[in-house]
Amino acid sequence: MNGRKARKGVRLGLSYLVLIILSIGAVYPALWVVLGSFRPGKSLYSKTLIPESFTLEHYRELFNSQSILFGQWYLNTLKIATLSMIIGVFLTLLTSYALSRFRFRLRKTALSTILILGMFPGFMSMIAIYLLLKEWHLLDTHLALVIVYAAGAPLGGTFIAKGFLDTIPRTLDEAAKIDGASNWMIFTRIILPLSRPMITYMALTQFVGPWVDYIFARLVLRTKENWTLAVGLYDMVASNQNTNFTAFAAGSVLIAVPITILFIFLQRLLVDGLTSGASKG
């Protein structure tokens, strides 16, 4: 009995050791950036993780610099993200509700089409969208980004959303229908309130997209005043690599902190979203 206890102790001890090492590995880069953003100077490297003195200079620089229009970029991104989130979630809900609740001709075709379209590499369509936007004189506008992000939303989100809606018992709809509710009323009064966790999950993923999309934003937005954060940040690394690492670190912190907090806060929701996608396809 004693040997067994000792073995268990060793096993637990080893497990804790591994967990601690993994945790350090997971947190270290993040910590390094956060602390780097408070470190005086511009260098990438310091001997100690914790800087000898703290400074807010880099954050001030972000908002006062002539070449880094951080505040402007932040507002741009916030605007684009909010608008494309609202429209995108709306479109996704329409699609998934129709596909989950109604049986009509071409339904399977619609489902397969969405699935197959989602498999094309996204920027395969980039050149055509670019030409289309040029044709409609929408280049270098935020509207263009909102339209493209929102129009693409149903492709990504429909399957997860539909999987969720499938689990809401259809007897609820039928009861409401007997009471004389129209399809639209069923949608707004029954389906929407019940799918709040799914909507939150969708809204979050849709909201985060524009914050981190570099490829497409770079293609559409030409003038510096119109850039989003992702474009600006990449530009800071690509043009000032190593020379101004600390400003980049400060910028990263300002982008990552809100998004990271949102994610950790909604972690539970995220797990549900992922696993419901897994078990129900």
């Binding site: 637990l12 497990s15 804790y16 967990l19 945790s23 997971a26 947190v27 880069p29 993040a30 390094w32 990438l44 490297y45 479109l91 996704t92 329409l94 129709a98 609740r101 009509f104 489902l111 699935l115 197959i116 379209l117 498999m119 094309f120 590499p121 395969m124 369509s125 050149i127 055509a128 969208i129 030409l131 289309l132 044709e135 929102a150 129009a151 693409g152 492709l155 399809n183 639209w184 985060v208 981190v212 570099y214 940040l233 690394v237 690599q241 980049f248 990263s252 990552a256 998004i259 990271t260 950790i264 972690q267 995220l270 797990v271 696993t275 996608g277 897994a278 078990s279 129900k280 396809g281």
Partner: protein
């Protein structure tokens, strides 16, 4: 009472809306007539040119006439405009067919002695019985113009010679060349060497990155889930942090950290008296680096996924195994592993497909570099997608890029369709209800 059907149908074929007006559905008929008027107005000006454009892709490039540049045909704009016009035309034809069918059906109802719906009733009918279709039309339009049209355009490009330096409008015209691009890609020595080299690395990358993140995630999940481990929630929250940080940022940070000259990792190495490694500049080490960094980014995802599944395994299965005297390892092999594998199999295949296309992990970290000398514009860590990106944006080899894109699509599509067909939800989705 016979004859309504034939007359209404013929009238509708003759012009939209006439059949409806004949059926005494005046407002509906007028709406259809207006649609047709718009259609004639729009297509009379554009349809002919669209057909000409899509066949010829333009006749005259920009040219110098008496010392002045005379604007010619820009093949690519012509192709896009033709495509848009033809899509609108297809929609118009679809509406036209709807109109004929509607007139026919209403007339049949009248022959059977039923009164045709008035406008209000028609609207109600659509909202009650055609709800799904009308609901779907809005997203469908968005998808048609921002996804399907661009994809059609890119597929068409693969069959043209649109590429730098010899066929870039407006100075030059672009022409249809059939399967020449694919032939070049697969059999022309310079291109095929690059293509198969990049393809091989793409597959190695997809297998290794999927396996490392999946097994790593399972290991971590099991570690945390062990009996006797305290603060499970805390460990989970700490270890999920890499997933919560936006990839754009974490990968750019990693790019800095692994920098061979200035990066902190090599500086720590030299601090301990070790020689630094060429993390991002040597072909072999760059491959190692992208796999390792991808583990950092990817393990948390599979960790939370597998932890979610571990909680759903019924306790009595373990109890039954214990009764039979199973050891810890046996319990894992007989109960945990099959359960986890079974529930995550579809996700695993999707992860694999996603890794084939993992643009961010490669491009933000190494940009596909280091460059390989005898490759066509590709580097040692380039995947097919990043190569496609470079071919498009940096080299303007649009036709090659489209051909590569089509091949990527075929690979991904075969995985995903196989996967989707065998998941229950497609076959038995109505079973849940």
């Amino acid at each position: 009472m016979k004859g309504y059907r034939i007359k209404a149908t013929i009238l509708s074929i003759f012009s939209m809306g006439l059949g409806q007006i004949y059926n005494r559905q005046i407002i509906k008929g007028i709406v259809f007539l207006l649609v047709e008027a718009w259609g004639i107005f729009y297509f009379s000006g554009t349809l002919g040119r669209a057909l000409w454009g899509i066949v010829t892709l333009g006749d005259e490039p920009r040219r110098l006439v008496k010392g002045k540049w005379l604007e010619g045909d820009h093949s690519i704009f012509i192709l896009v405009q033709s495509l848009i016009t033809l899509l609108f035309f297809a929609l118009f034809i679809a509406v036209y067919i709807m109109n004929i069918r509607d007139a026919y059906k209403t007339a049949r109802n009248r022959e059977e002695g039923r009164k045709p719906n008035d406008f209000k009733q028609s609207v109600r009918y659509v909202l009650d019985y055609k709800f799904a279709q009308s609901f779907l039309s809005l997203p469908a339009l968005g998808i048609l113009f921002f996804t399907i049209m661009p994809i059609m355009f890119m597929i068409m490009l693969a069959f043209t010679n649109y590429s730098a330096p010899n066929h870039i409008p407006p100075a030059k015209l672009v022409d249809w060349v059939g399967f020449q691009t694919f032939r070049d890609l697969l059999s022309l020595k310079t291109w095929s060497h690059t293509f198969f080299g990049v393809l091989t690395w793409t597959i190695i990358w997809a297998v290794l990155s999927t396996l490392t993140t999946y097994l790593g995630g399972m290991l971590v999940a099991l570690l945390i889930n062990q009996q006797g481990i305290k603060f499970k929630g805390l460990w989970r929250t700490i270890l999920v942090i890499p997933y919560a940080i936006p990839q754009l940022i974490s990968l750019l940070v990693m790019r800095n950290m692994f920098n061979g000259q200035f990066g902190p990792i090599n500086q720590y190495f030299s601090y301990f008296g070790l020689a630094g490694l060429p993390w991002l500049t040597d072909p072999f080490w760059a491959k190692v680096t992208v796999i390792v960094v991808n583990m950092w980014v990817g393990i948390p995802v599979s960790m939370i996924l597998i932890m979610g599944i571990l909680t759903t395994i019924p306790k009595d299965m373990y109890e039954a195994a214990e009764m039979d005297g199973a050891s810890g390892y046996q319990k894992f092999r007989i109960v945990t592993l099959p359960m986890v594998l079974f529930s995550t199999a579809p996700t695993l295949i999707m992860l694999f497909a996603g890794n084939i296309n993992n643009f961010n992990a490669i491009y933000l970290l190494t940009s596909g570099n280091p460059v390989v000398g005898d490759y066509q514009y590709a580097g040692a860590t380039d995947l097919l997608v990043t190569w496609l990106y470079k071919l498009t944006l940096d080299q303007n080899k649009y036709n090659m890029a489209s051909a590569v894109g089509i091949i990527i699509f075929l690979i991904i599509a075969s995985f995903s369709i196989y996967n989707y067909r065998r998941t229950k939800s497609f076959k038995e989705e109505d079973m849940i209800q």
